[in-house]
């Protein structure tokens, strides 16, 4: 930290900076525009969620999971609910499972829309961001119909979902699915295949498969490196094994496999697949219960459970230990963004400042889930 090395300028990027996607601080050493090292400093958003979990009952912790990855609250709710259900040994009604998949995939779309938009605004194009927000509004409206909230949903509960789908939900979802593919084409025309955009992202910050394994990269960032690993296929949960969808992987269309453009494009492809899944699930909705019979006071037997689920940003895992009381003995959360951020110092060596923004944007990290 001292003035030891006068060859480089030390710049603190964040915690207040327009494109650190929250309160991330990057300590950057630069020689002009070229970076010699990047070091992320985290913890500005630490709320001690894992410790809080030890002081509240199992159902009381569900709203806290909303605050992990606030752009994909449904997915976080889902992973936590599945973990507690495994501890309790509860079987979930089929209707609840289908509803859960619909919510998880709709939320994946809305989260990827933000990833798409924020990367575009990081690259200096502000219009695609607002286009993404426009479509996300439609999804938010759907979520508002089912649970009244637009950001922290707390809809997927232990045993099922908090209430059944309201009237008109299927129709409005179908309406959205009808026009959404055209919007994705619009995004591609406007941004994905724009030559400036490609120039900025292709061949930038390539993550090789072995590096991805070393750093524990998951989700779209891993698949962009050409590895077909998706928990929805590899370890199917809910009704995913009955659904027909592809797992897109990076092919280096515009440069090298695993470059920033591939990571960006994974999100676009996955939105298409998620829309397909939601469409199939709407057809699978049969009358039934929206929640299993769950006792009023949850006292899971002594034991432990680890459940992971494919979140928009990668694998989210909950490791729960129960001591037989109403509160967890210990909860460990494995969040995807934490692992994804860890590769930044490696990628950020010798690139330019503008590339660092592209790296952060294309990894699509989110801070509340890193700091917990």
């Amino acid at each position: 930290m001292a003035v030891a090395d006068e060859k480089f300028m030390q710049v603190s990027m964040g915690p207040q900076h327009p494109s650190t996607h929250g309160v991330l601080r990057l300590l950057v050493r630069t020689d002009g525009e070229v970076l010699s090292s990047v070091k992320p400093y985290i913890g500005y958003l630490h709320r001690g969620l894992e410790k809080i979990a030890e002081r509240v009952t199992y159902p009381q912790f569900t709203p806290f999971t909303d605050r992990l990855d606030y752009l994909a609250s449904m997915n976080c709710n889902l992973a936590y609910a599945m973990t507690v259900e495994r501890l309790l040994g509860i079987e979930i009604p089929r209707r609840a499972q289908v509803i859960r998949v619909i919510m998880a995939e709709l939320n994946r779309i809305s989260s990827h829309l933000i990833a798409f938009g924020s990367l575009s605004s990081d690259m200096g194009a502000f219009t695609p961001f607002l286009f993404g927000i426009r479509e996300r509004e439609a999804i938010n409206d759907l979520f508002e119909m089912v649970c009244g909230a637009r950001l922290t949903f707390n809809y997927i509960r232990i045993g099922g979902v908090s209430q059944d789908l309201p009237e008109g939900f299927t129709d409005r979802t179908k309406e959205f699915l009808d026009y959404f593919p055209a919007k994705i084409r619009e995004y591609n025309d406007l941004l994905s295949y724009n030559s400036i955009f490609i120039k900025r992202l292709a061949d930038i910050a390539v993550i090789r498969p072995e590096d991805a394994f070393d750093y524990g990269i998951t989700g779209p960032n891993l698949r962009a490196s050409g590895i077909r690993w998706d928990l929805r296929r590899a370890e199917p949960y809910l009704v995913y094994n009955e659904l027909d969808f592809d797992v897109p992987v990076g092919r280096g269309e515009m440069g090298t496999t695993g470059d920033a453009w591939d990571r960006y494009m994974m999100r676009i492809y996955e939105m298409e697949q998620s829309a397909k899944i939601v469409g199939q699930c709407l057809g699978m909705l049969a009358p039934g219960d929206h929640t299993a019979k769950v006792p009023r006071v949850l006292k899971p037997p002594v034991g432990e459970a680890y459940v992971r689920a494919e979140n928009p940003r990668g694998e989210l895992g909950f490791y729960l230990i129960s001591d037989g009381s109403t509160k967890p003995y210990r909860l460990k959360i494995r969040t995807p963004s934490f692992a994804n951020l860890s590769i930044v110092p490696k990628l950020g060596k010798g690139v330019m400042i503008a590339d660092l923004i592209a790296i952060i944007g294309s990894l699509d990290i989110i801070l509340p889930e890193i700091d917990r």
Partner: protein, 372 residues
């Protein structure tokens, strides 16, 4: 108005030298006030237009609260900026920091002076008008560096270095492109250049249509001009997502507004230069050849001039809200590897054209062929 000064002073031939001096000073002050008033009004209109255009492109409404259709938004913004706290950072170099906005503002508005708005409306009919504008707008880069260095902020410094590198680099294709056009009328006087383009229904003898080289020059000039005024896709000196706000990071209130207004002023100037040199200036198309009262002709000419300028400004806004931003090295590549060589080629080509065909344009040649 210089003409006016000459007229008045000659009619005051019998008055004492003191009176003549006084009258001259008064006329100069009044014309300066008129320029400032018109320019400020234009700034307001331009910021409003920018926000409406952005809103239109981004599928939203834009300002619509203050006054009818939000037309008075710029007044509200101006008042807000005026009453904002004026912060001078403790470690700033006070004089550089305070001086920079004034120089930027002055240089930007001094460029309004030699423009020819119609046959008789211009502030000063300089015989070196084009050279003057190019020279005075280079002062902006010095002032930007002053502000950037004076702020004593690392992001400002990045922005300042980027701005100077960019503006000085892009000056070269700009000047070369202007030269390719100027050698035809063989004058640097704005009015002469416009008069040279008369005839051909007020359209076909525009310099942009004169020969293939001037046609190319127009586009080279326009691209370089967008870079000169630091707008997307070349807005890297103030790239928000990379270096916060670039050279004006530390500026607040009215000092910031000066930088902001200078940008819009520059937009007007470069568009006006493009209009004057390539698009026939105030030549009224089609009905320009008819006889009409002088006042009507003047009004039409001013209207035509502003219409052309605003069209170019609209194109700049359109580009800004559509494209992502280039990286700093890609920006330099574009300038030195593409625009500058093309501009040189244009200059040589246009010179040969003038030499061989004595300045007759494509229109004249075609018309000559048809008559024979």
């Amino acid at each position: 108005m210089i003409g006016l000064i000459g007229h008045v002073t000659s009619s005051l031939a019998h008055a004492g030298p003191l009176v003549r001096l006084l009258v001259t000073v008064v006329i100069m002050l009044v014309s300066a006030m008129v320029v400032l008033a018109v320019a400020l009004l234009y700034e307001g209109a331009a910021t409003y237009a920018e926000r409406k255009v952005a809103g239109d492109i981004q599928a939203r409404i834009g300002p619509n609260r203050v006054g009818p259709y939000g037309l008075l938004q710029f007044v509200a913004d101006g008042v807000k900026l005026l009453i904002k706290e004026d912060i001078i950072p403790f470690y700033a170099d006070r004089w550089l920091f305070i001086g920079a906005p004034y120089i930027v503002f002055t240089a930007s508005f001094a460029a309004f002076v030699p423009l020819s708005y119609s046959e008789h409306v211009s502030v000063a009919d300089l015989n070196v008008g084009v050279l003057y504008v190019v020279a005075i707008s280079s002062v902006v880069s010095m002032a930007i560096l002053m502000g950037a260095w004076g702020s004593n902020n690392k992001w400002s410094l990045f922005g300042g270095m980027r701005a100077v590198a960019q503006i000085i680099s892009y000056e070269i294709p700009i000047v070369l492109s202007l030269l390719a056009a100027v050698i035809l009328p063989a004058s640097l006087d704005m009015k002469d250049i416009i008069v040279y383009q008369s005839g051909g229904l007020g359209i076909f003898r525009w310099l942009v249509f004169n020969n293939p080289f001037t046609f190319l020059s127009f586009f080279v000039y326009f691209i370089a001009a967008i870079a000169e005024v630091n707008r997307t896709p070349f807005d890297i000196p103030e790239a928000e997502s990379e270096i916060v706000a670039g050279y004006h990071t530390e500026y607040t209130g009215m000092r910031f507004a000066f930088f902001f207004m200078a940008e819009y002023g520059d937009m007007f100037v470069v568009s006006a230069i493009a209009t004057t040199l390539f698009l026939g200036g105030w030549q009224v198309p089609i009905i320009g050849g008819l006889s009409m009262p002088v006042w009507l002709r003047e009004v039409l000419e001013v209207a035509v001039f502003f219409a052309k300028v605003f069209l170019l400004i609209y194109v700049m806004m359109w580009i800004r809200w559509t494209l992502p931003r280039l990286r700093v090295d890609q920006l330099m590549d574009l300038c030195w590897k593409y625009l500058t060589p093309i501009a040189f080629f244009n200059l040589v080509g246009a010179s040969v054209w003038v030499l061989l065909l004595h300045g007759r344009g494509v229109y004249d040649l075609v018309a000559g062929l048809l008559i024979h």
